[in-house]
């Protein structure tokens, strides 16, 4: 199976819905480590992306990806806006030129996006950021044979990665000023990444089932 423009739009809608449901929980995670706005920001941005995409006329996959990049970058704001924005922006070349994305096309998109995030944020695994969820998810996706296995893997790996941030001190983001006091709290950006991949996984299962 391939992911074309219609599926890509539906996938982003599924993400927006799930993030919106998790908004207050994500805000609470950010209140413990930062300034308490993370859920509000990501939820507003993904909703805006969905609206912007709905307004496009017969968009290609890369039109959709670009619209998402812009919405995330400009409507999310904050550290997460720049970081998630870099994910979409750096993934864009890998989307471009494809009518629809095979599992291995998507792997290239995710890898380029991850690279973009790490470069923009100067972040590695272990810094207690969203990279702790994103990096293992992308690695798991690469190992999988198809989309179904891939999405299932990303969802599991991202959640484990997010949970792993609980025991860490932070080297990036607002939480780094907390030192040892950051221990015991899950990074909100990492939780968002896990939520996103869980939303994709559920959406994919639903898609398969209804086909």
């Amino acid at each position: 199976m391939r992911i074309g423009p219609a599926e890509l739009a539906a996938m982003l809608e599924a993400i927006a819905r799930r993030i919106s449901a998790e908004r207050e929980a994500l805000n609470r995670l950010d209140a413990a480590l930062g300034d308490g706005d993370h859920g509000t920001s990501v939820s507003a941005a993904f909703s805006a992306a969905v609206d912007d995409i709905a307004a496009l006329n017969q968009p290609s996959a890369s039109d959709i990806w670009l619209a998402a990049a812009k919405a995330v970058m400009n409507r999310m704001g904050g550290a997460s806006g720049a970081i998630f924005g870099s994910f979409f922006l750096k993934g864009l070349p890998a989307v471009r030129g494809h009518d629809s994305l095979s599992k291995s096309d998507m792997e290239a998109v995710l890898k380029a996006g991850l690279q973009g995030v790490k470069a923009r944020g100067k972040t590695e695994v272990g810094d207690k950021t969203m990279v702790d969820a994103l990096a293992p998810a992308v690695a798991d996706f690469a190992k999988a044979g198809d989309y179904a296995e891939g999405w299932r893997g990303t969802a599991a790996a991202a959640r484990i990665g997010a949970d792993s941030t609980r025991t860490l001190t932070a080297r990036r983001g607002r939480a780094r000023y907390l030192g040892e006091r950051a221990i015991g709290h899950i990074d909100p950006g990492a939780a968002t990444v896990a939520t996103i991949f869980e939303a994709i996984d559920a959406w994919w299962e639903e898609l398969i089932r209804s086909n």
């Binding site: 308490g36 509000t40 970058m73 400009n74 924005g85 006091r181």
Partner: protein, 336 residues
């Protein structure tokens, strides 16, 4: 204390737009609203001068809205509450500030503000908007130890940068010189904040964090980021004793130095308390042989209705004193 949950707003998602509409209407002789939440001077500065741009989240009013005007900044790009605006809007703001003399993008150091500013600068390069420089500003001694100043956060002490840099850029100066002046002020400024209460988000109605009555926390960030730990709330003079010495030691300020002093109200303090605190600060500075050139006491950079305050000091020489005394006319920062 428990926070006051009911806020006088209309729709949570119209807060920032309605706030800007009200502010720019009330002070239409000083500012005007343009584009996507850009606050500009009503009368732009003369062609050829360096433009000063500051992007940042809301929730700190009168910062930075109140600092747009003659002798101060040119453009404020306003974000959601506590949220740095994205790069596209920063680029818009840079364009709006461009009077042909180059634009200095001033960044109060927080990860989100810096990352979005960096992205904006890359976009400017791609768009061939040249003569744009960025300066990263920080002052909060609680957020990284001495020797690692560049990791520190930007907080209320940037007050001094806005005023002195604003005055400087009314003159015929080069972009590089403007950046150097901003760095000079930054490198002579140190701040430390404390808080007695939390605040509630007007969007969610949720309190930012829990704080028991009778507790205080030293080292709060400007967005309610928790600081160096809770302790029993002290008297005014004891609190000053606890906060001032680390500030003096950090630069360090020495006997014979001259300083500007700010006592910033985070929102919910009474001015009465701040005047009492100021008395303690002034006595101790004089004991340390540091003379006070001028002082300000008030809500300049707030964290919604948080009851807390910051002490900020800026060491000044003849150049900075003259820049301080230069006129300024922002809605919430006037000097003449």
């Amino acid at each position: 204390m428990t926070a006051r949950f009911h806020k006088l707003i209309n729709e949570p998602d119209r807060i920032v737009d309605e706030m800007l509409a009200g502010f720019c209407d009330a002070y239409s002789d000083i500012v005007r609203l343009a584009g996507d939440r850009l606050v500009l001077r009503a009368q732009p500065k003369a062609m050829g001068k360096v433009g000063l741009v500051m992007a940042g989240g809301s929730g700190h009013e009168p910062a930075m809205l109140g600092w747009i005007g003659r002798g101060l900044l040119d453009v404020n790009i306003v974000g959601e509450i506590f949220t740095a605006p994205g790069p596209g809007r920063i680029v818009d703001g840079i364009r709006a500030a461009d009077r042909g003399g180059g634009v200095l993008l001033c960044v109060s150091h927080h990860e989100g503000d810096r990352l979005n500013a960096e992205l904006a600068l890359e976009f400017c390069e791609a768009d061939a908007i040249d003569k744009v420089e960025m300066v990263i500003l920080y002052d909060d001694i609680s957020s990284a130890p001495k020797g690692r100043e560049s990791e520190r956060r930007g907080t209320a002490g940037l007050f001094f940068v806005w005023k002195l840099l604003g005055a400087y850029c009314e003159g015929d100066v080069e972009l590089e010189a403007a950046k150097a002046l901003a760095e000079k002020v930054r490198d002579n400024t140190r701040s430390l904040a404390m808080s007695l209460s939390s605040c509630a988000s007007p969007v969610s109605g949720e309190v930012m964090f829990e704080m028991a009555p009778g507790e205080m926390e030293i080292g709060m960030g400007l967005h309610g980021e928790i600081g160096m730990g809770r302790q029993e709330a002290l008297s005014a003079d004891e609190t000053v004793d606890l906060m001032l010495q680390p500030i003096l030691d950090d630069l360090p300020f020495r006997a014979g130095d001259e300083a500007l002093v700010l006592l910033n109200n985070s929102g919910g303090m009474t001015l009465m308390e701040l005047f009492i605190l100021y008395r303690g600060v002034a006595v101790r500075l004089r004991e340390a042989g540091i003379s006070i050139y001028k002082s300000w006491i008030g809500p300049y950079a707030t964290t919604l209705e948080t009851a807390g305050f910051a002490i900020a000091l800026c060491r000044v020489d003849a150049q900075l004193k003259a820049l301080w005394d230069a006129p300024a006319n922002g809605a919430y920062m006037k000097q003449h």
